[in-house]
């Protein structure tokens, strides 16, 4: 198993030790210890990846069975780990970005009472996420899948005394359970047909199969439901926005960089299945595109700095699924990587801002912070440029790759949406940037106390900022690196990176620039209030995410409530029936008792009655009376 187990176990060890000995540990130790472990497993991951790279043969896979998970019906299901170039990418991002965010958190959480608990959860999350990507079959993947859900539940509800946080946590967990069930059903379906859920086994089977049967559509769709819930695709997206109740590093790590992209991982991992399920495949792309533009529109007028970033995350996830939909797998992975860089950077920077403003998140209270926190501003700017797709920043390349392949594969409509969304992205990101760092401060008091974050926080931010700038350079490497992973089984026709038509690029960039200018004019020159445009029709709806929460209440929650009430009535009747029956027999007895009148002659009469009856019966039976 060449070190996979160690990579897995180290974070778990961290979580366990911190939980067990948090009482004994000095104040700073948990953070340092946790970060150290993650960093070590980052190094181990690098080694493991090198080992994968140096593997001979066509497919570069390290795999092995730890133990039998369950046996007894059909084929045994093993507890199998599996490392190939695809999971290697995730491995690196998870541990690398994870390590940075751990370090950042040391500073960010330094004065929080629950600090050890926080780092234990964080380590536990890293472990679960690694389990997810290192899983060798769908069951193990599902275990990791659910455990990251649990981790995010714990971390969203980290400040458990905030009712909003608790509610958000529950919402996230329940919606993710929906996803888990989807995967569960999907893998059960696959198991029935292929008597196994291990990747190599399944892929072998897929590569011989003919596309287009309902079975493939269903299994692919069920698995996609899982991805949907985890990656917050429309209509299962609400939990992600609410998840911002958690501490900012959590938002950066879980709800931007890693966990929410698990769906992307699952879909890219199962690309041979997508080939067999064309309808679902198209659906993925369409929903992805819609999610992208929908989220972008919602992000337009958000008032909360983290909300904006959350919806932008949604939008970027939409891009990734769009990429999957047009089977631009490498591009999606590429975008996932760059997105991990710049979005983590954005969140951490936002975190520094919030930290600097002692917990203030409302854009209405910010402004003009550039002078106060230059480093943060610089990296935030870099990341903003990256996400807006301004060349030569990283975002440009990855987004370009996705759009280009969308165009090449003939999905012109999706392409159009993508391009337009790119423009919107540029607008709301720059709006955010301007409202935060430029213009004149809207809350002087806060502004006066604002200060640059300590080094332990700034350094990770800057590193990520740099990555956000240069991340595009990894494209070529990634292309080569993933080629074996996608070449192994049929179905990845356009997996490799392709460049789109030139005019596409021009239009995209032009839109971005225009959006930049508009934002600049509106929010720096005119310095419009953040609230502007949220009163009347479109803006209002955009601000409230088009009222999707209400829709959910209307079509899902309330009907269930009604069913519950009906069943409550049934229950009352059942219980009443039981007691009623007993009471009925009892009262029957009490009514019958007076038959015993106490008069001897009545008793004699009853004897007489019995005697006559018996006599008559016998005489009838022998046919004397007939």
């Amino acid at each position: 198993m060449q070190g996979l187990v160690e990579i897995l176990v180290l974070p778990l060890l961290g979580a366990a030790t911190i939980t067990a000995f948090k009482g004994l540990m000095p104040k700073k130790l948990p953070g340092i210890w946790a970060s150290l472990l993650v960093a070590v497993s980052f190094l181990l991951s690098i080694l493991a990846d090198r080992r994968v790279a140096t593997l001979s043969g066509s497919h570069h896979v390290i795999t092995g069975v730890l133990w039998n998970w369950v046996t007894g019906f059909g084929a045994a299901i093993h507890f199998r780990l599996y490392l190939d170039p695809l999971s290697a990418v995730w491995l690196l991002i998870i541990t690398g970005v994870g390590a940075l965010i751990h370090i950042y958190s040391i500073g960010y959480m330094h004065d929080d009472a629950g600090q050890p608990r926080f780092f234990a959860y964080l380590n536990f999350f890293i472990f679960s996420m690694l389990l997810l990507v290192l899983a060798g079959n769908l069951i193990v993947l599902l275990i990791g899948w659910a455990l990251v859900g649990l981790a995010s539940y714990l971390l969203i509800g980290f400040w458990y005394e905030r009712p909003t946080a608790v509610a958000a946590a529950k919402k996230a967990f329940v919606m993710n359970t929906l996803g888990d069930v989807g995967i569960l059903l999907g893998l059960a379906l696959l198991y029935i047909h292929y008597h196994g859920v291990g990747y190599p086994h399944l892929f072998q089977a897929f590569s011989q199969a003919k596309p287009g049967s309902a079975f493939f559509e269903w299994s692919a769709f069920l698995l996609y439901v899982g991805a949907m819930a985890k990656s917050a695709q429309f209509p299962l997206h609400m939990w992600l926005a609410d998840a911002m109740e958690g501490p900012t590093p959590v938002s950066a790590l879980i709800h931007a960089a890693t966990m929410v992209t698990a769906g992307v991982y699952l879909m890219t991992r199962l690309y041979p299945l997508l080939r067999l399920a064309p309808i679902t495949h198209e659906l993925i792309g369409a929903i992805g595109a819609f999610t992208a533009i929908f989220a972008a529109s919602v992000a337009f007028f958000q008032q909360d700095i983290k909300k904006v970033l959350a919806y932008s995350t949604l939008s970027q996830l939409g891009y990734m699924f769009l990429g999957i939909g047009v089977s631009a797998y490498t591009a999606s992975v590429f975008h996932f990587m760059t997105h991990a860089f710049f979005k983590a950077c954005l969140f951490l920077a936002a975190g520094s801002v919030i930290h600097g403003l002692s917990g203030e998140q409302d854009l209405g209270q910010m402004g003009g912070l550039a002078r106060k926190m230059p480093w943060t501003m610089a990296s935030f700017l870099a990341a903003t440029l990256a996400i807006s797709g301004i060349p030569p920043f990283s975002g440009y390349f990855s987004k370009e790759a996705i759009l280009g392949q969308a165009y090449n594969s003939g999905h012109y409509f999706l392409w159009g949406i993508g391009v337009f969304t790119a423009g919107m992205t540029a607008f709301y990101m720059f709006r955010l940037f301007f409202l935060t760092f430029l213009g004149k401060p809207r809350n002087q008091k806060l502004h006066d106390h604002a200060h640059e974050a300590p080094l332990v926080m700034t350094i990770p931010v800057v590193i990520l900022g740099v990555l956000a700038v240069v991340g595009g350079a990894f494209g070529g490497w990634l292309n080569g690196w993933l080629k074996p992973a996608f070449a192994l089984y049929p179905g990845a026709a356009h997996a490799a990176l392709e460049s789109g038509p030139l005019f596409g690029t021009i239009v995209t960039v032009a839109l971005a620039v225009v959006a930049f200018i508009v934002a600049f004019l509106l929010y720096v020159r005119r310095d419009t209030a953040p609230k502007a445009g949220t009163e009347q029709a479109p803006g209002h709806w955009m601000l409230h995410a088009w009222g999707m929460d209400l829709v959910w209440m209307a079509i899902v929650v309330n009907p269930l409530k009604l069913v519950g009430q009906a069943m409550g009535a049934v229950e009352r009747t059942i219980l009443a029936g039981v007691t009623g029956l007993a009471a009925g027999v009892q009262s029957w007895a009490t009514d019958l008792a007076p038959i015993q009148t106490g008069y001897v002659r009545r008793y004699a009469l009853s004897i007489m009655v019995g005697g006559v009856a018996l006599l008559a019966y016998y005489l009838i039976r022998i046919g004397f009376i007939s």
Binding site: A593, P594, Q596, T597, G598, Y599, V600, R601, A604, L605, M608
Partner: protein, 100 residues
């Protein structure tokens, strides 16, 4: 020579009359007499059949019945006396405290 089955029929009637007596009379003594009458009817039947079978077992049975009746009457009257000693009326329906 008298018709045996008619004797049995007569016994049946006496038996029924005795039963009626037990059912309708309220005086415990009279009820008891009626019961004795039922026994007598039975004894009569035994004797009659003994005659028809030329076997004396029936007569033995009748004799046993008479003897038993004597003993029973002794006990019965003693009980009735001990129960009705302090009561003013010989009414069986007064003795109905135990019920339900």
């Amino acid at each position: 020579m008298i018709p045996l089955n008619d004797v049995v029929g007569l016994a049946a009637v006496i038996f029924a009359v005795g039963a009626v007596g037990v059912l309708v009379r309220k005086n415990p003594l009279v009820m008891f007499m009626a019961a004795e009458m039922m026994w007598n009817a039975a004894a009569l039947v035994f004797v009659a059949y003994a005659r028809s079978f030329h076997a004396m077992t029936g007569q033995v049975m009748a004799f046993i019945i008479i003897g038993t009746a004597a003993a029973e009457v002794g006990i019965g009257l003693a009980i009735i006396v001990s129960v009705y000693h302090h009561r003013h009326r010989l009414d069986i329906d007064e003795v109905s405290q135990l019920k339900g």
